[in-house]
Amino acid sequence: MAPLDPDTQQTVLAVVERLKTKPGALLPILHGIQDVLGYIPPAAVPLIADGLNLSRADVHGVISFYHYFRDTKPGRHTIHLCRAEACQSMNQKATEAHAKAALGVDYHGTSPDGAFTLEPVYCLGNCAASPAMMIDDKLYGRVTPQRFDAIVAQWEKR
């Protein structure tokens, strides 16, 4: 487990300190850390456990339960591609296969240039404009393979 550099450690401790008195503080804290760092480094777990008087196993158990929390650094942008029923009914399979090929990754992977991490998601609430996709927190509808390329091209340089 890689130790945290002092800056990161400071970030984690600041989030824990700010939120630890909230009732049910663990999820807000995990969100707070992932919002800043993009992930929850394994070495942050003891700091969080300490702050909340929980065991490391408790904290690890919560992080690993939720699909959204990740313990590895993502690419510069995260693409959440919906693969639920409404999107499937509009040929999501084609967009999915295209996305994987274009980025050169499978789900949970990061493209070789470090630009994009591809994650599956089960519904983005945009089911009347399927297939849907979200890049960071920007939502897209009717994402055909062609439109996928056009959208991703806009994000590549960011």
Binding site: G24, F69, Q88, M90, Y122, N126, C127, G141
Partner: protein, 516 residues
């Protein structure tokens, strides 16, 4: 005077380019030296027309859609600010049959008002329900909700007033009002549209619930896949505090109600009420066995209301206009309105709020206009990933809780996902099991192990290995999951599987893909 132009800020509209459209209108107006006031409203729910631009004229709001930034110049050339003719003109928005033929109660303000404006909310009957509730006894508020016939819109359809009464009657120093905004069902987006389009309505509904059961704290458990709704809710809550509609002394009544938003983290199971409570407490979202009911022993062990967004957002109009008014919509024991979400392979997808009792066929063809692909509609899944697949022969079923229960289907949260005749129902049955395996919390064996075994069995069926034998095992497994699971995830996953087997048997044998 500036002309008022409405461009939605709803996430669905934004996903189709509404943000760029708003910018383009502002830029073009400024280049032409024309004074326009752009209001970013919610969506009218007609997603196929998004981005739908509306211009406020003396006779009503005239719409143009779907608009792309490239259309803006020609819209100005056509004098759209005075309702000028243009190929994208759809006329008076409220006269469009899709919209006109609705019973907009819960969604009466969505798409009409500026969701960030408390003044706009107040000008459109906002907080009339809360004011009336303040003039009543808490018991009478609960009675009003009970008498309205409102049943939980999350899917379980439990009478809301009875749930509230249980919470009010459970002795405790602290009670909670929680809103389940973990809208995870594929094909549903009503909660999102309401939260983004009329956030004060949900806040008011929760405040009324707090007053009714003497709860001073509320939580909205929002899925993290909804960042737009998150921003809107937080902004609205801040405004409600500033104007004294939340906090320690609501509008000088001496009553307290505090409200905050908590984010989920991508776990479908947290839409199950006990799992949601675990998650709010900062734990793994594993479900709790019932009893005790959350109404008796819920969040942090205290009596807790857990209601869906649609249920709570229906409360203000019930309190404002009375139980009698609300109850007069609907059929049988399904009273009021259902917010139907028409999605998937459909020409005119969107949100349709109608009194209970409308048939599926009317929704699919009169509103939806048939499939988006132009091919015949072969199957629809109603009620999310745990809902049954219905064939054409069942399209005349009225949308009401009991009629759907009678055909072993569920209305659920009102989502309808449409599939054309290219769908392979054996694959959809496999997906139902796969989804359950991905999202199972792991607490009970039928769900945790059963779903994985289900995927394996379906793989063998699809590969044509000993099909009769394996299909019999699938049936047996479904029976075990249905009867042996602790909650609806494992308990209802058999619905899509069994209904696919019942109505689309040809897709499972002898050759997968052979149509009935």
């Amino acid at each position: 005077m500036a002309v008022t132009v409405f461009v939605p800020r709803d996430a669905a509209a934004l996903s189709l380019g509404a943000g760029d459209v708003a910018h383009a209108i502002a830029a073009e107006a400024s280049a032409r030296n024309i004074d326009v006031a752009i209001v970013r409203n919610g969506t009218r729910g007609m997603v196929w027309l998004e981005p739908l631009v509306e211009v406020a004229l003396s006779n009503g709001r005239v719409g143009y859609g779907p608009v792309s930034p490239d259309d803006i110049r020609s819209l100005f050339d056509a004098d759209f600010l005075n309702g000028g003719a243009h190929p994208l003109r759809v006329g008076l928005v409220e006269e469009i049959p899709y919209f006109k033929k609705q019973d907009r109660l819960t969604f009466s303000r969505v798409g009409v008002t500026d969701p960030f404006s408390l003044d706009d909310y107040l000008a459109h009957d906002g907080y009339a329900g809360l004011m009336r509730a303040f003039a009543m006894s808490p018991a009478d508020v609960i009675k009003e909700v009970t008498d309205s016939g409102l049943r939980g819109r999350g899917g379980a359809a439990f009478p809301t007033g009875i749930k509230w009464k249980t919470v009010a009657d459970s002795p405790a120093d602290q009670r909670y009002v929680t809103c389940n905004a973990d809208e995870g069902d594929s094909g549903t987006f009503a909660d999102r549209m309401l939260m983004e389009g009329d956030p004060f309505c949900l806040i008011e509904g929760m405040t009324i619930a707090g007053i009714a059961v003497n709860a001073t704290h509320g939580y909205i458990y929002l899925r993290c896949e909804y960042p737009h709704a998150h921003r809107v809710l937080n902004a609205a809550i801040e405004k409600a505090y500033a104007a004294g509609y939340l906090g320690g002394n609501i509008r000088g009544t001496g009553r307290r109600f505090d409200l905050e938003v908590r984010l989920g983290a991508g776990a479908y199971i947290c839409g199950e009420e006990t799992s949601m409570l675990e998650s709010l407490e900062g734990k793994r979202g594993e479900i709790r066995p019932r009893p005790p009911l959350p109404a008796v022993k819920g969040l942090f062990g205290q009596p807790t209301i857990v209601n869906n967004v649609m249920s709570l957002a229906s409360v203000p109009i019930i309190l404002h206009k009375g139980a009698e008014f609300y109850k007069n919509f609907g059929v049988g024991r399904s009273r009021g309105t259902l917010t139907i979400q028409l999605a998937g392979n459909i020409k005119r997808g969107g949100l349709i709020e109608r009194a209970f009792g409308v048939t599926l066929r009317e929704i699919l063809y009169d509103y939806g206009g048939g499939s988006a692909s132009g091919r015949p509609i072969r199957a629809v899944q109603v009620g999310g990933p745990l809902g049954a697949y219905l064939p054409e022969s069942q399209f005349d079923t009225p949308l009401d809780y009991e009629a759907f229960a009678n055909i072993q289907a569920l209305v659920g949260h009102g989502g309808i996902v449409v599939f054309d005749d290219t769908v392979d129902m054996a694959q959809m049955a496999r997906y139902a099991m796969e989804f359950c395996a991905i999202e199972s919390c792991g607490k009970c064996t039928p769900c945790r192990i059963g779903s994985t075994r289900g995927v394996e069995l379906m793989d063998r069926v699809i590969a044509g290995q000993n099909r009769t034998f394996h299909l019999a095992l699938v049936e047996e497994l479904c029976d075990t999951m249905l009867n042996g699971s602790l909650c609806g995830l494992g308990g209802l996953t058999p619905y899509p599987v069994q209904s696919a087997l019942r109505h689309f048997r040809g897709d499972f044998e002898p050759e997968p893909g052979t149509r009935n």
